[in-house]
């Protein structure tokens, strides 16, 4: 009896793991497809609302979508909160950890001075990491549009789920790309 129970539990857990692997693959495929669509000027890319972020140090190239209600789409991709104008304050959320959609898992490897690039429509905005700090998940003040030309990359701290790792970046320059 016990053996059968263990077997069933094991199979269920394996199925969940397999599902997770499949979802990771699909998420990665969709992400890559979106990134490729942008750089190939494909009209399937939503130039109006989506961004592309590139962080060479952690080998990240991903699409950033606008956060929907309750941040449901945060599981599938990086999302930005509210403001889509790089001249204002951009706030980007992403998961860290193990599983699909954990694009910010290596965010803690960034240091001051590291380069980050943001692509919006025909513009390439070059950022530089200016500050790295942590906030409690109750500190909602960082969501205020109090700074211009700044981007925040936010994810959970691996050691403390009640805290959020914030990587603050400032703009170096803006390039207009030829289509």
């Amino acid at each position: 009896m016990r053996k059968r129970l263990l077997k069933i539990v094991f199979i269920v857990l394996v199925i969940i793991l397999v599902r997770e692997v499949v979802l990771v693959s699909i998420a990665r495929y969709n992400n890559k497809k979106s990134v490729d669509a942008y750089f190939k000027n494909d009209t399937s890319f939503n130039y109006k609302s989506d961004f592309i972020i590139e962080i060479p140090k952690i080998n990240l190239e991903s699409v950033i979508k606008k956060a929907d209600a309750d941040f449901k789409n945060l599981d599938d991709s990086l999302v930005y909160y509210k403001y889509d104008n790089y001249k204002e304050k951009l706030i980007v959320f992403g998961h860290s950890g193990v599983g699909y959609g954990t694009y910010f898992n290596r965010l803690d490897e960034l240091g001051t001075g590291d380069d980050v690039y943001l692509y919006k429509d025909r513009h390439k905005i070059s950022y530089e990491v200016s500050k790295i700090y942590s906030v409690f998940d109750t500190e909602l003040g960082i969501l205020n549009n109090d700074k211009k030309g700044v981007m925040l990359l936010i994810t959970c701290e691996k050691s403390n789920k009640n805290k959020r790792l914030v990587v603050e970046l400032t703009i170096n320059n803006v390039q207009t790309l030829k289509k």
């Binding site: 263990l6 539990v9 209600a69 941040f71 109750t138």
Partner: protein
């Protein structure tokens, strides 16, 4: 004796070729009338030789003594020749003699006997007589003054080789016809020897310029007659001068073809720069028509908007556009023009209107709660061309409207700004292909859904569930292995 006779005979045979014997044909009857009231004085060899005026004729034609000091044989037959070297005379300035004789007695308007006297005197002087004069008595008497007649003959003699002269232009267009007068006023005495494109009318030369060599030759009018010399052994040589000699001159006229150039330009810019990056001045077809409206040829403009109709002859032409170049409307202008010698190259500037559409954009916000659409004022739009270059921007007015005119081409309409909480519409393609169309575009925006998350905390951005699942699966696996071992 026989030997001597033989020697004489042989000598005669040997020297025969060197003995000239002018046998002649004795085909011309020489005679004259003496005018005993007039005496001709020839001063030669230191003495005055006086004779009556003898108006010689040969076969009824006026003739002159050209060998003074030698007697003529009256009422007898002489031999005739056109070559003075056949006569006893040998060398003489035959051109001068023939001219004097030709313009002497018998020339139109020269019917007075004084012309005979003048011509004869001029001939004698030409043949070496140092002085000649005329009197009404053999000894003494009055001098008959014939200076006027001599001068008139000499005037004509000196003008014989004065050819017509024309002030031609540097060149004429093929097909051109014109009339030009002879500056030397001698054209009436000439005829066209060679040249089908010219003819003479009084002192004017009429020319039609042709598409080939426009050279021509004018020569002194001929009468089918010639100068003749008459000779008889032992008697003076006589000459008749019904025509002196041939004289002609060559002329040449340069020709060229005309051109009509159509220079197409943009009507809005008044230059070669199209009003739209997608329009071009190249490829517009123009037709060239003759004065009766028949199409001669058609050509298309090159990349500079130019077309050249060349190799045109002098005439009136009409030019009009048959089909426009891409992005432009057809021009209704019909141009009539003339090309000729004075207007070698005609340039027609053709200004073309670009195809345009009026674009009316209506921007509204959808309000599903109240089921209405409200106009949005102050929304900024950008219009970009196919290369992504910004063409223009515009803001909606209080009615949510933007009205603008766009030239030929394909454009992308982008919403550049929005109000908070409202989405932006997707980019819209606008194509302007046909002229005079008004395009109405209605754009509907929607309010964005409110973002909800826990008021007290930032979104959860950690995922470790899978780690737990993996650990549990591992434990289960270990448990299963243990169970298998124990059983």
């Amino acid at each position: 004796m026989k030997k001597r006779v033989l020697v004489v005979l042989l000598s005669i045979i040997l020297f025969l070729p060197f003995m000239s014997v002018k046998a002649g044909n004795l085909d011309s009857y020489v005679d004259w009338n003496l005018d005993r009231s007039i005496f001709a004085h020839q001063y030669r060899n230191g003495s005055d030789h006086v004779t009556n005026l003898a108006m010689i004729t040969v076969n009824g034609k006026v003739a002159y003594c050209i060998e003074p000091g030698v007697t003529a044989d009256k009422a007898s037959y002489y031999s005739s020749t056109t070559n003075i070297y056949d006569t006893n005379l040998g060398y003489a300035n035959t051109k001068k003699l023939s001219l004097i004789g030709y313009y002497g007695y018998g020339y139109p308007g020269h019917e007075q006997r004084e012309y005979y006297m003048a011509a004869q005197e001029l001939i004698w002087r030409e043949m070496g007589v140092s002085n000649v004069w005329w009197t009404d008595k053999k000894d003494g008497g009055n001098i008959i003054n014939i200076d006027y007649y001599k001068n008139e003959i000499l005037r004509l003699v000196n003008n014989y080789e004065v050819a017509p002269s024309f002030d031609f232009k540097k060149e004429y267009m093929v097909g051109d016809e014109f009339s030009i007068s002879d500056k030397n006023n001698v054209l009436e005495d000439y005829e066209v020897a060679q040249g089908k494109n010219v003819n003479i009318s009084g002192n004017n030369l009429n020319v039609k310029v042709e598409d080939n060599d426009n050279s021509f030759t004018l020569r002194r009018k001929q009468n089918g007659k010639t100068t003749m010399y008459y000779y008889k052994d032992g008697y003076q040589t006589i000459g008749t001068f019904e025509f002196p000699y041939n004289y002609e001159k060559d002329y040449s006229i340069n020709h060229f073809y005309g051109e009509i150039i159509v220079d197409k330009m943009d009507d809005d810019n008044k230059s070669k720069e199209p009003s739209s990056t997608e329009a071009t001045l190249e490829g517009a077809e123009y037709g060239l028509y003759d004065k009766d409206g028949n199409l001669i040829m058609s050509k298309k403009t090159d990349k500079n908007g130019m077309v050249i109709f060349d190799n045109l002859t002098e005439d009136n032409y009409t030019v009009k556009e048959i089909s426009p170049s891409p992005g432009y409307t057809i021009s209704k202008t019909v141009t009539k023009t003339y090309v000729g010698t004075g207007t070698k190259k005609v340039t027609i500037k053709s200004y073309e209107k670009i195809i345009e559409n009026i674009i009316i954009i209506t921007k509204v916000l959808d309000d599903p709660v109240n089921k209405i659409c409200t106009p949005e004022e102050g929304i900024l739009f950008g219009i970009y061309d196919i290369n992504g270059n910004l063409v223009t921007t515009a803001k909606t007015d209080e009615k949510g409207l933007i009205t603008l005119t766009l030239p030929y081409g394909k454009y992308v309409l982008k919403q550049e700004s929005t109000i908070e909480g409202v989405d932006k519409v997707k980019d819209r393609i606008i194509e302007v292909t046909k002229d005079g169309i008004t395009q109405n575009i209605t754009l509907v925006n929607h309010k964005l859904p409110e973002l909800h998350f826990e008021e007290k905390t930032l979104p959860n951005t950690g995922k470790n569930g899978i780690t737990t699942i993996f650990l549990l699966a591992s434990l289960c696996f270990v448990g299963l292995l243990y169970e298998k071992k124990t059983t």
